[in-house]
């Protein structure tokens, strides 16, 4: 087929396709998905989610099982969201060889529930000492942590106020609290809830939030000339976090779900492409050859058709532990039977067309007839069925992943759901962990269903209603 004809063909098809509204809608959705892959780093807070999904250090600043931020919009008690504060006022003092730097971070607190943790980050060389304190809107200054760093050539420093300032917080709270009536274990105190609450009775038991501007002060003593602490910032592990919350391993679900888009598309499209190409060729060849060859090919086809797909895939995955590529191959190995029956009957019809006979009468070879005359006619059908196999492939992969048999080097929606299931998300009502990944599977399926059904509608004029 010449390029110009191909273009004309596409143009015709497009003109038809444009009329099917839901098909267009599907295309728009697909475009959005592809866009999400392309601009992934700009729309997620954790762009390395895909490669470091199972690396706990990558997620440690996040809260555990926090709901999404927009929950605040619908709730009367506002929770502090996760936050990173990098901006700070910096001053430095020299006392002989020793340097004293002081960085002041401002934090605007206007919520009802405090963040779960406040963490100091920095990069240290030498053996500096880090002292953290907080200045509250009511003027109290509380010294929180004093952390000397052992000699190093450079390492990440991470100081969690929530973990390391229990005693200081307790001591501060105890000054106001009536301890007679309420015996409170020191270990039970949540430092952030003390620090961000009004200094009055009940601060330990029933804290009420103290809204206003807080100053987080980091004082760093640098004993040697070359000692440095740089890239300092505070992270707040919020009571709500990210667009879709976090899971019980502190992972940001939004980042994970977006990272899953490209794998879903890859699995779906690659499987559908291979399977449909094999299936269409198989069907046409079987129809064209006819006779005992056709019978034999049909028997093989029926053998494959009689295989209960998912159970076999599950057992194969459980036993062979395949990676994602092998999994795609496995699915293609069974998916190809899908279009065969229709293609074969279409092929038989086309074979009966006089122009095939005419080509034979001119002495055209079998391969010429199959590839020049028969397959081009089936291409629209092939595309339509391809679109309709994409969701199946995605669902099958998710199902296998749900059982915990997926490829652990990548992150797919099925795996997130597996984690949710084993993490007790259903039981504990952590809906933000269960809904999004499944919704994305369903959305992706819907996208291709829209496109596929639209193509189907164009291809079967008999089903047209007007």
């Amino acid at each position: 087929m010449k390029w110009i004809d191909f273009k004309a063909g596409i143009q015709d098809f497009w003109n038809e396709f444009k009329r099917v509204k839901f098909g267009l809608f599907g295309l728009i959705l697909l475009f959005i998905f592809i866009l999400a892959i392309l601009i992934n780093p700009y729309i997620v807070p954790f762009p390395e989610a895909s490669s470091r999904w199972r690396d706990i250090t990558y997620w440690e600043d996040n809260p555990v099982s926090a709901p999404p931020v927009w929950v605040n919009w619908f709730s009367s008690t506002k929770r502090a969201p996760s936050l990173i504060i990098e901006e700070h006022a910096f001053s430095e003092e020299k006392m002989g060889k020793i340097k004293l730097s002081r960085a002041v971070f401002e934090y605007e607190y206007s919520y009802d529930l405090p963040p779960l943790d406040v963490i100091f980050h920095g990069y240290a060389i030498g053996s500096p000492v880090i002292m953290l304190s907080i200045e509250r809107p009511d003027g109290h200054i509380i010294e929180l942590v004093r952390r000397p760093i052992s000699k190093s050539d450079g390492k990440e420093v991470r100081v969690s106020i929530g973990k390391d300032s229990r005693i200081e917080s307790y001591n501060f709270g105890a000054k106001f609290e009536n301890l007679e009536g309420n015996r409170i274990e020191r270990e039970m105190v949540k430092p952030t809830s003390v620090l961000f609450s009004e200094a009055k009775e009940g601060i330990l038991v029933h804290p009420s939030p103290l809204k206003g501007t807080y100053k987080l002060i980091a004082e760093i003593i640098l004993p040697a000339e070359n000692d440095v602490v740089e890239d300092i910032y505070f992270t707040f592990s919020g009571g709500v976090s990210g667009w879709l919350g976090t899971d019980s391993s502190k992972r940001d679900i939004w980042s994970g779900v977006v990272a899953g888009v490209k794998w879903a598309l890859l699995i779906g499209l690659l499987t559908a492409l291979t399977a449909v190409s094999i299936g269409v060729t198989y069907g046409v060849v079987s129809a064209y050859l006819g006779g005992w060859k056709d019978s034999l090919m049909q028997r093989i086809f029926e053998l494959f058709l009689s295989v209960p797909l998912l159970p076999v895939l599950i057992v194969m995955s459980a036993i062979f532990k395949p990676n994602i590529w092998i999994m795609i191959l496995m699915m293609s190995c069974f998916f190809w039977v899908g279009p065969v029956k229709t293609v074969r009957s279409m092929g038989l019809q086309i074979k009966e067309e006089t122009y095939i006979e005419a080509a034979q009468a001119f002495g055209a070879s079998s391969s010429r007839i199959i590839f020049k005359h028969m397959i081009p006619l089936l291409i629209p059908y092939a595309f339509a069925s391809m679109a309709l196999y994409v969701p199946s492939a995605i669902v099958y992969e998710s199902s296998i992943s749900l059982l915990g048999l997926g490829d652990s080097t990548i992150v797919t929606w099925g795996q997130i759901l597996h984690d949710a299931l084993t993490g007790g998300a259903v039981l504990n009502g952590l809906w933000w962990w269960v809904v999004p990944p499944g919704l994305f599977i369903a959305l992706m399926g819907m996208t291709f269903a829209f496109i596929g059904f639209a193509m189907d509608k164009i291809l079967h004029p008999k089903l047209r209603t007007r």
Binding site: M1, D5, T354, Y355, A358, A361, F362, G363, H373, P376
Partner: protein, 331 residues
């Protein structure tokens, strides 16, 4: 107009039928005898008509001549050479010489090919014409031969952009690009509207005269056969029952079946609407898998005798060039 270009000798085509298990166990075979022992010659430059009802084996005969089907038995001799069974390369050569026009011109062209591509395809398959330009020249010439003038206007059209008549012209032009010596035309006008039917037949006849072609014209329509052909063979259930000059057969039909066929033909002549014109035939054509013994026409024949049920009649010459297979006529 004297040398036979093709000789068909005792040609058979039996299709096997799917057997039941008991039949397989008993070793019985069931055949659909689509073509059952036919013999005829077609002379150089002649138009030979093959007439019969659907299922009589006329199309199968055409396909056998085209080598689209392998004969079960018998011989096909083309220009003195036995072409019954051919190897791939010889077959290709044979197909350059014998071409086919199909019943439905629209169906006989790939709807995705432009007229030019349709015409080019045989050239590409047979590697005729070194360059595109050379091939285009041949395509142009053959379009002119079928009176599609100017050819440029039609070359870029898809089949659906052509009218029925134009399509059949393109289909005919396609058979001409390889300059064959014989064309098998299988009901070339039955799918075409009456108003253009005559046009196509006229064109085909002109081309035949100009290029000295030989036609095998397969049809169920006796009236076009009379107009178009020189000689006619009437087939019934895989056998030729009568053969002879076109005028001779129609004006002087001898076989009861031919007579029935002629009687059944409608003609645009006034004053027939009140007459019930009897067709001298009984019942309907039986399946080719279940051929009656003896003369295969006897269950439907009004003149059948006991002999007809037992003995199969053979073609006998009654006049020069007029052969009939019927016991009734010779008793």
């Amino acid at each position: 107009m004297s040398e036979p270009i093709i000789k068909i000798e005792n040609l058979h085509k039996w299709f096997p039928v799917r057997r039941t298990i008991t039949q397989i166990l008993k070793g019985e075979y069931v055949w659909v005898k689509a073509v059952d022992d036919i013999t005829f010659n077609i002379n150089q430059g002649e138009i030979f008509g093959l007439v019969g009802e659907s299922g009589c084996g006329k199309t199968t005969t055409g396909k056998l001549l085209m080598k689209l089907l392998e004969p079960t038995d018998g011989k096909i001799i083309f220009k003195g050479k036995d072409v019954t069974h051919l190897e791939a390369n010889k077959l290709k050569e044979y197909r350059r010489n014998v071409q086919m026009v199909f019943q439905d011109p629209y169906a006989s062209m790939n709807p995705r090919f432009r007229a030019q591509e349709v015409l080019e395809e045989p050239l590409i398959i047979h590697q005729v014409g070194e360059t595109r330009a050379e091939r285009e020249k041949i395509v142009r010439r053959s379009l002119e031969e079928v009176r599609l003038i100017p050819p440029e206007e039609f070359m870029q059209r898809f089949p659906h952009m052509l009218s029925g008549g134009q399509r059949q012209r393109v289909a005919t032009a396609r058979t001409l690009v390889l300059s064959p010596s014989m064309i098998v035309a299988d009901e070339p006008v039955s799918m075409i509207d009456l108003s253009t039917r005559a046009e196509i037949l006229h064109m085909m006849k002109t081309v035949q005269r100009e290029l000295g072609l030989t036609y095998l014209y397969i049809t169920h329509d006796l009236s076009t056969a009379r107009y178009f052909t020189d000689r006619i063979a009437v087939m019934y259930l895989g056998k030729i029952v009568e053969m002879g000059g076109a005028d001779e057969i129609i004006d002087n039909a001898l076989h009861p079946y031919t007579k029935a066929l002629i009687a059944a033909v409608c003609e645009p002549i006034p004053g027939r609407s009140n007459i019930i014109k009897e067709v001298p035939i009984k019942g309907e054509i039986p399946s080719a898998a279940n051929i009656p013994p003896g003369c295969r026409f006897h269950p439907r024949c009004l003149y059948a005798k006991p002999r007809c049920q037992e003995e199969e009649p053979i073609l006998k010459e009654v006049e020069s060039g007029h052969q009939v297979a019927c016991h009734y006529l010779f008793d």
